[in-house]
């Protein structure tokens, strides 16, 4: 059963530089043609969500994600196309929208609850649950203007999450609040999903999207780029990210290259990620096998060049660094004009969910110089299995056994 259907939806905004700003101007401009420019925030976008499914909407800032949400929640109406939804829609587009700063947390729970469509009786019934979820018991009778932004967000999310909607629409709200609360929100949404709630989730946090959603829509420049399984959607998005960043990176690279002495004797043409079956990927699951392939074109003869790879995490911390010397592998000799492929095969990638920029370098055999260096040339997106917290995904298996037991019970058993 479909819960949401979006059919060929377009949304046009008018960028009016000379829109009359007051009545006098409006009167003067009657009859005149106003100069205006159309901006298509969305162009012929279609997708569907089944009941109980979770859809992730992925895209850059300004790609049109928020417009989709505003259309789904009926805040705005599409210029063309149809949007249909089934059941009660609750939207978390901005946490605590409608909170009144002078009113206490308690009063705002009631106010916000009724804005989100709950009846007073429903709020009465859920009040304790809402407050407990927000962990703000102590401050519930304090005016919310005294709250920190994190507290504000927690209360806002708690109310919205307890509306019991048929469709929950969540915009980039998890960015606020600490990691523990973010996880709590994600868990809560997962629970809601299990109970049959349809979820539409917008985020830049691709690992949150993949852990919550089954399908994904990638939107760029107002157009649907991809609609399908979430991993493929993230893959598609990551490629876009790289394309966009390439331009910025190139300038960055130049400055880094000057720091490293490169001879231009060889060029790193590409760094690519491949799964076990050889297909190119940008996203990978924890503990899956992965091959990092570095393609090099030699412009001069090279004697035992040393390929180097670095894996960093999103904070720029170097988490892995290896090269052929450390791997006790001699890559052999190459001649000018050769194109070589250096493959680093990883049996089980022991990383948690996240985005990991990968760099590669090619050094002379004696490390006196570099042939070429490509910093953060590719981003690896890791999706994990949700079995642990931390930095690493370790291959743990858990078992239990009784090693001692009280004597009397043993007697009773026998």
């Amino acid at each position: 059963m479909k819960a949401i259907s979006v059919e060929h939806v377009s949304k046009k905004f008018i960028l009016s530089k000379d829109r009359p700003k007051n009545l006098a101007e409006a009167c003067r401009s009657i009859g005149k043609r106003k100069p205006r420019e159309d901006f298509w925030a969305l162009n012929d976008v279609s997708f569907e969500v089944n009941q109980g499914e979770a859809l992730g909407i992925i895209g850059h800032n300004g790609a049109g994600k928020s417009t989709v949400l505003k259309l789904l929640t009926r805040i705005m109406q599409p210029t063309s196309g149809h949007i249909r939804t089934r059941g009660r829609v609750s939207a978390l587009i901005e946490v605590g929208a409608g909170f009144h700063p002078d009113m206490t947390g308690r009063e705002n729970v009631y106010l916000n609850g009724s804005i989100l469509g709950m009846t007073k009786r429903e709020i009465d019934g859920k009040f304790d649950e809402i407050v407990a979820f927000s962990e703000l018991e102590k401050f519930i009778d304090t005016p919310v203007k005294r709250y920190s932004s994190g507290m504000y967000a927690r209360l806002g999310f708690s109310v919205a999450a307890h509306v019991q909607p048929d469709i929950l629409i969540v915009d980039e709200v998890l960015a606020v609040g600490d990691a523990a609360f973010q996880q709590k929100c994600l868990d809560h949404m997962t629970d809601l999903r299990r109970s049959g709630c349809t979820i539409v989730f917008v985020s830049h946090n691709t690992s949150a999207v993949t852990s919550l959603c089954d399908t994904g829509v990638v939107i760029a420049l107002g157009e649907k780029q991809f609609f399908g399984p979430v991993l493929d959607a993230v893959d598609c998005y990551t490629k876009f990210v790289i394309k966009k960043r390439d331009v910025q990176r190139r300038a960055e690279d130049q400055s880094l290259l000057s720091a490293k002495v490169c001879s231009d004797g060889a060029t790193i043409e590409s760094i690519s990620l491949r799964s076990a079956d050889g297909s190119a990927r940008t996203s990978v699951r924890s503990n899956d096998p992965l091959v990092i392939a570095v393609r090099v074109k030699f412009d001069e003869d090279a004697k035992s060049p040393v390929p180097v790879i670095h894996i960093r995490n999103n904070d720029g911390l170097l988490i892995y660094d290896t090269n052929s010397v450390m791997q006790r592998t001699d890559c052999g000799d190459f001649r000018a004009g050769d194109t070589a492929l250096f493959e680093f095969a990883i049996d089980h990638l022991p990383l948690k969910a996240g985005t990991y920029p990968i760099s590669a370098e090619l050094a002379y055999g004696d490390f006196s110089m570099y042939y070429d260096s490509r910093r953060n040339a590719v981003e690896m997106l890791v999706v994990d299995s949700d079995t642990s917290y931390g930095l690493l995904e370790l291959p743990v298996s858990l078992s239990s056994s009784i090693v001692a037991r009280d004597r009397e019970e043993q007697v009773a058993e026998s």
């Binding site: 479909k2 009545l23 929640t73 939207a91 901005e94 009063e107 009724s114 804005i115």
Partner: protein
């Protein structure tokens, strides 16, 4: 599985593949469905106006009372307006109170969409709850102001008749008119913020065109029919007649005022709903 069950499942399936009807319910049904939201927003409106002030809701009384004192000094002791034997303070208060309701309602009401921009761009619900909650919030002020009337009546020995019960329908007529105006002004204010500057000026002028600080009898007879086209004139004069003089209102003029109020409400609402889809994009 027997055939009956099978049919049932097929039926269910067909039913599920149909999308819910587009919302075509009437204005009153929508209102009834969102009554709790209207109440919440009304409470918010009242709370936000009086929170963190020492006198709190007492301001709802102090404002018209202060105006009453000012006008009494100016028009009773200096300009000496003839009120037909009714003490000037109560004479003016009985009209000043609903006028304050009208004026503050219109000023607050015309701003209600702009000041709730964060809600309009973030959450969907029928936008008519905003004008409605502003007007209802000011009605609470009006009710509080009415509390003062009882001691004033006792103090000035006003003879009360059953006609005073007409105050309630009069308030309703006034609210219809105010609501209509608020629908109109708030939606236009969203597009042209000039409205917020115009409303206080116009209501100020309007007050002098309405029998509030002077009696209707001071209006020259030849202008009376034009003067009474202003629905507020008839409503204000009616308050005075039913509450202070203990006599019926001038039915003909009141009928016109009621008609104008209802027409204003219907037209205001129509315009509001017509412009509603553009609110979130424009605000």
């Amino acid at each position: 599985m027997n055939s009956v069950e099978q049919t049932a499942i097929i039926d269910q399936h067909i039913e599920h593949d149909e999308w819910p009807e587009e919302n075509t319910e009437g204005a009153l049904v929508t209102l009834l469905r969102h009554r709790e939201l209207v109440m919440s927003l009304t409470i918010r409106d009242i709370r936000s106006r009086y929170k963190q002030s020492m006198l709190g809701v007492a301001w709802a009384l102090l404002q018209p009372l202060a105006m009453m004192l000012i006008y009494t000094v100016v028009f009773s002791h200096i300009a000496r307006i003839e009120t037909g034997g009714i003490p000037y303070p109560i004479f003016t208060y009985i009209a000043l109170l609903p006028w304050t309701f009208f004026q503050t309602g219109l000023v607050g009401g015309s701003e209600c969409l702009v000041s709730n921009a964060n809600l309009i761009t973030k959450i969907y619900f029928p936008r008519e709850v905003f004008p409605l909650s502003v007007i209802l919030g000011r009605t609470v002020d009006l009710a509080l102001g009415m509390l003062v009337i009882t001691p004033l009546f006792l103090f000035y020995h006003i003879h009360v008749t059953w006609w005073i019960l007409l105050v309630i329908p009069l308030v309703v007529v006034q609210m219809c008119f105010m609501l209509g105006m608020t629908f109109l002004l708030s939606s236009i204010n969203l597009f042209y913020r000039d409205i917020r500057h115009v409303v206080p000026l116009v209501t100020q002028l309007w007050m002098y065109m309405t029998p509030i600080i002077y009696p209707l009898s001071l209006v020259p007879h030849k202008y009376l029919s034009i003067y009474m086209m202003n629905p507020m004139s008839s409503i204000m004069d009616s308050y005075r007649r039913v509450a202070l003089l203990g006599e019926p209102p001038m039915w003909g003029y009141l009928a016109i005022a009621s008609l104008v109020s209802v027409v204003a409400l219907v037209l205001g609402y129509r315009l509001f709903k017509k412009l509603e889809p553009a609110f979130a994009e424009t605000v």
